[in-house]
Symmetry: C2
Subunit: 198 residues, 2 copies
């Protein structure tokens, strides 16, 4: 890209390293940024570095947050005795968008995958088990309906069942192989309503 001056080239290169951004989009984004007011570019750059600097896992549910407890765990209106287990923070956001789930969450930050060598100790399962010592009535497993998600669901249900706590799995309204994050609210709701005992 020696037809662009070095700083433009570097910006395009770094943008195209982001997921879903090809070289054409990276160029488009770079020139958009170069045409933005300097103040807005600064704000965007600051949001990135600040968010990255302050981000950590919620003490309770392990979602990404910049506070000690995330807004959901802090909310005493929510039903803290129902825990929905998801693979990552974006899956949590997907269910929050339905606006109908009243419980709290637990973010595993991954799923068990023998293929990739990811075992139960590589995801945040220990923290979930620890939470069950409190006042918990139901654990809803909402991992993706992929092979890894199903394996994780089975593993968790076997782990929890002996404790007597109700363990459910979101219904198969979620298309097999689908990623929660990209599914419409209606399907997500149907899956929640049709959840079955494991």
């Amino acid at each position: 890209m020696d037809y662009y001056s070095s700083q433009i080239s570097r910006l395009i290169e770094q943008l195209s390293a982001l997921p879903g951004i090809g070289s054409k989009s990276a160029q488009r984004l770079a020139f958009h940024i170069l045409h933005m007011p300097e103040e807005d570019v600064k704000k965007l750059a600051e949001s990135m570095t600040e968010a990255k600097k302050n981000i950590h896992y919620c003490k309770e549910c392990l979602t990404l947050t910049d506070e000690e407890l995330c807004p959901i765990c802090r909310n005493m209106q929510r039903d803290h005795r129902t825990i929905m287990v998801v693979e990552d923070t974006r899956d949590l956001a997907a269910y929050e968008k339905t606006g109908k789930y009243e419980g709290v969450y637990h973010v595993l930050h991954g799923a068990i995958s023998p293929m990739l060598g990811i075992g139960p100790n590589d995801i945040r399962l220990k923290e979930l088990i620890h939470r069950l010592e409190g006042d918990v009535e139901e654990v809803i497993i909402a991992t993706n309906s992929s092979l890894e998600g199903e394996t994780t669901a089975m593993y968790i249900s076997k782990l929890i069942k002996p404790t007597g706590i109700r363990v459910t799995r979101i219904a198969s309204g979620v298309p097999v192989g689908g990623d929660l994050e990209y599914i419409d609210e209606v399907t997500l709701l149907r899956a929640l309503e049709g959840r079955v005992e494991l």
Copy 2:
């Protein structure tokens, strides 16, 4: 987005304001950024602010650059007597990718559009005319083949013809209504080879 903590929400919001980035992509990007090493996030943020701070128009061809003269105008191997007129820096990049154009450029930063109230004085035409006082043999007009691009091409050719300098227009290999930036190298080359006298 009150299920995300404030800094994450702000980042997602700012990312989704970028062109071609919907709310889903913005979330995906934000979480990707939050999972990147802090050093890389800093570098990306710096590239944005630095490029924005230092960017200006090349003294000669008016493309965006962070130096006084862009790499192309600085290159004495190029044929400075042939000037290709393009609408913006990305169109210049599109022709550079063919690797076969030896001349230099002139970036108009827009096109004449009576509909949008953009007249000849709103694009960088004066600077082009000024450049023609030097040693110029040919002006190749490579504005887009849109209504605005064609209008601009006609206007420029009428302006330059009395000077006796050769004025050409890239051939109609470029599909009508197409945007130079998205056209494959072969079509761009064919259009260059088939250019006709105006």
